[in-house]
């Protein structure tokens, strides 16, 4: 199990009801972690609409998780 700190923004923060939480996960990648959390928390955004950041840097979905990482899931931006 890997322990990571997860931060939420915007619609994800509202759907989760907290800004951040500490998670122990068997997920190996950012994408796997999102899928796990999506099921657990009922997030409406599919995984391919969400980008990941680890330790405040954008990362690909396949980015591996390491102990102590700060992971942020980034909903689509307003753009307008």
């Amino acid at each position: 199990m890997t322990r990571v700190e997860v931060q939420y923004f915007a619609i994800l923060r509202e759907q989760r009801g907290v800004k951040a939480e500490s998670i122990a996960t068997a997920a190996a990648t950012v994408a796997e972690l999102y899928d796990e959390l999506r099921v657990r928390h009922g997030f409406t955004l599919p995984g391919d609409r969400v980008r990941g950041a680890v330790n405040d840097i954008f990362v690909p979905a396949s980015h591996p998780l390491r102990e102590g990482d700060r992971v942020v899931f980034i909903p689509p931006v307003a753009g307008g």
Partner: protein
């Protein structure tokens, strides 16, 4: 002063403009994004901006660096608000100076276009009846960041 900043308090345009003063500059182009009273035909009461500030600032500085590389500029500064804003309030300010106006216009446009597409900043519209909506968070909208995951 940081060239790109996220601000939880009202943007002080006069101070930003003073910071751009440069004897070599012949042109200064600014863009201001204001909260408008309707969006896609629907009346809007107010707007809430939420930012992933750390990443928004580093991505914002990257955008300004790209603009300086692509266009012959003497200066470039930008600030984006967070928090709950009223109609007419200033949500984003971009200021660019250059010897000649062509570069200033093109760079200012580049910066705001990239900022809107890439910065992890979200907006939630509040409507008259008390309902709200996160814009583009549902199914549309672009990914934040410069490259797809």
């Amino acid at each position: 002063m940081k060239p790109f900043a996220i601000s939880a308090v009202p943007i002080e345009v006069a101070a930003l403009a003073r910071a751009l003063a440069d004897d070599r500059a012949g042109a200064c182009v600014t863009f201001e994004g204001w909260v408008r009273n309707r969006n896609e035909g629907q009346p809007v009461a107010s707007l809430e901006y939420e930012a992933y500030a750390l990443l928004a600032e580093s991505e914002g500085e990257k955008i300004l660096a790209e603009a300086r590389e692509r266009f012959a500029l003497t200066g470039a500064v930008a600030v984006h608000r967070t928090g709950h804003l009223r109609i007419g309030e200033l949500a984003v300010w971009v200021g660019v100076t250059a010897e000649h106006r062509g570069a200033a216009f093109d760079a200012c446009r580049y910066i705001i276009d990239e900022a809107k597409a890439r910065l992890p900043i979200w907006k939630k519209e509040h409507y008259a009846g008390g309902t709200t909506a996160w814009i583009n968070c549902a199914t549309r909208g672009e990914h934040a960041g410069s490259a797809p995951p």
